[in-house]
């Protein structure tokens, strides 16, 4: 078994037992990246010097016998919209230029405190706006399962790096499915926590009421171990929840006896590929064999989740991205005479077309004369979605559904039809709108051998219940994506 065939938790145990060193693992990671990343393009920046420096410090701590985190010494990749002090952070955009953050995101700080080693920054859709990781200024990411297919997005680089065996785990971010969908397309496990569980301080914002940082890894145990490192209240994030969290890794027990699983069968009536329908509904039957009960749910808000999401997300994005103006950091155009020209030239040259489109859409729905018809209406539809989930969770403990209507499409196809691309987010966006936890777990393959993912959605703060359901499934029926 190769070093990178282990899971993150397994590697942590080998390190603790001194059967392997941090340096050996890093050597293997960078060797793998040097061979594979020419094909995958999963990384934008590698932080070799910092990584080896960190590895040496952690190795000393391991050898000293200190009681360290289960993931001490484990290498991890970070999506490039998460600030890492001293390591260039680009959001896969030209407009950030050579921006090097002077501070760590809180989630990154917590990884350092738990002695993980950051190997580099992963590629993504520009400013997290996309579902395919094709809109990056640094070129498209490829799916390791089929290089002619997209890895999904926007955390496509993180998912591809794990699925391609370059790293054992990564951080991504999820605003409308950007962890869960690439995890599904690449055949790995991805988790979006309850909104407010993981600090957004240092996560370069797309839509502040929807964004969450979360893990992408080989299996649920690894996701749980990473969650233990990164959750918690943060004074820097006013949306961070004031509460204690369970221990996720030690809380996994693989028992789902008595668990009520809601399946919204109407969501399967149209638009879902046969393989996705077959494989995800099979998971429901498999849970019944483990002692869970399946109940049918009627979640009729599915019809309006997409306009609700795209109105709210783009409105927030138009505000969040107004800070990128060439004044204090990043790229600055040379084609200007006045400050106004500096700002508009910089933004027009620095942002890609999809980002500009979403900024304009967001500005439009907030503008005078349209605010009530679009933005205010969308806020009310968001309320209806929250209420719809509240009613559903009176009947069940978790909801099971597809992550996406299809498996990974071919590179170049999705961008030709923007509406079709947006509609592919139909099963993921409602989870962000309601601030709920969502897990994507591999559950099989289609007839072309492309991975299918099943999604588990939990009630607010039901993260451990969701993770445990995924763990139970992987323990009984698959081994994640080792």
């Amino acid at each position: 078994m190769g070093i990178l065939d282990y899971t993150a938790v397994e590697l942590g145990a080998l390190l603790k037992a001194k059967e392997i060193s941090c340096r050996e693992i890093l050597d293997e990671v960078y060797s793998k990246i040097s061979h594979k990343d020419i094909e995958l393009n999963a990384f934008i920046t590698l932080s070799r010097d910092k990584a080896y420096e960190q590895a040496e410090k952690v190795q000393k701590r391991i050898l000293s016998g200190k009681d360290l985190s289960p993931l001490a010494g484990v290498p991890i990749a970070i999506k490039d919209n998460i600030c890492t002090a001293g390591i260039r952070t680009t959001c896969a955009s030209e407009i950030l230029g050579e921006f090097t953050p002077p501070y760590n995101a809180t989630a990154v700080e917590k990884l350092y405190k738990n002695d993980l080693v950051i190997v580099g920054k992963t590629n993504m859709d520009e400013f997290a706006m996309g579902s395919t990781s094709e809109t990056s200024h640094f070129g498209a990411v490829k799916n390791p399962c089929n290089l002619s297919c997209v890895p999904g997005g926007s955390s496509g680089g993180s998912a591809a790096a794990v699925a391609g065996g370059e790293v054992v785990c990564a951080l991504g971010s999820d605003t409308g499915g950007s962890i869960r969908q690439p995890a599904s397309y690449c055949g790995v496990t991805g988790f979006k926590p309850t909104y407010g569980s993981v600090s957004r301080y240092g996560l370069i914002a797309y839509a502040s009421s929807l964004d969450q940082i979360g893990p992408i890894a080989k299996d649920v145990r690894d996701c749980a171990a990473i969650m233990d490192c990164i959750v918690g209240y943060d004074t820097h994030d006013s949306t961070s929840l004031h509460q204690k969290y369970p221990e996720f890794l030690s809380g996994l027990n693989a028992s789902v006896k008595g668990l009520k699983i809601g399946v919204p069968h109407k969501w399967y009536e149209k638009g879902v590929d046969f393989s996705v329908k077959e494989k995800t509904l099979k998971v429901a039957r498999e849970f019944e064999s483990l002692g869970a009960t399946v109940v049918d749910l009627d979640l009729d808000f599915i019809d309006y989740v997409i306009p609700t999401y795209y109105i709210i997300a783009t409105a927030e994005a138009s505000s969040n991205l107004s800070r990128f103006d060439g004044v204090k950091y990043g790229y600055r155009s040379t084609d200007f005479r006045t400050v106004d020209e500096l700002i508009s030239a910089t933004r027009s040259e620095g942002f890609g077309k999809e980002v500009q489109k979403r900024i304009m859409l967001g500005t439009f729905v907030l503008s005078s004369g349209y605010y009530d018809a679009y933005y205010k209406k969308a806020l009310k539809m968001k309320r209806m979605i929250v209420d719809g989930f509240d009613r559903a969770f009176k009947q069940c403990d978790i909801i099971l559904c597809p992550v996406a209507p299809t498996t990974a499409p071919k590179i170049g196809c999705a961008l030709k039809d923007a509406m079709k691309m947006y509609l592919s987010d139909i099963y993921t966006v409602s989870v962000n709108l309601a601030g709920l936890p969502g897990l994507s777990v591999p559950c099989g393959y289609d007839t072309d051998g492309m991975p299918v993912g099943v999604q588990f959605i939990g009630k607010k703060n039901g993260d451990l219940t969701v993770l445990n359901a995924g763990y139970a499934y992987q323990t009984a029926f698959s081994k994640g994506n080792k």
Partner: protein, 93 residues
């Protein structure tokens, strides 16, 4: 429906320069998206629904002065700078 003039106005509000071709493309693409949204929005009755913001509780921190980052560190990323500030073209005549 979104017109070319509206696209140009929205672009100006967004501080984006759009050439004729991109403006036309946006007119078409944004038009499609808004048409879809209009269709869905018209079928959803929200008259008796509270919007989400009214239900959220805000936690405030104490009004305490805390150390921030050093000026030099913050200015290190500026495209053009003095010792104390970024440099931009004159804003006031």
């Amino acid at each position: 429906m979104i017109t070319l003039d509206t696209v140009k106005y929205v672009a100006e509000l967004s501080r984006l320069k759009v050439d004729a071709a991109f403006a036309q493309q946006m007119c078409s693409e944004l038009g499609d998206i808004l048409k879809y949204m209009d269709t869905i929005n018209s079928t959803v009755d929200t008259d008796t629904v509270d919007d989400i913001c009214k239900s959220e509780k805000a936690y405030l921190r104490n009004d305490k002065i805390m150390k921030s980052l050093d000026r030099d560190v913050l200015l290190a990323n500026a495209p053009e700078r003095t010792d104390e500030t970024p440099i931009v073209p004159k804003t006031v005549e």
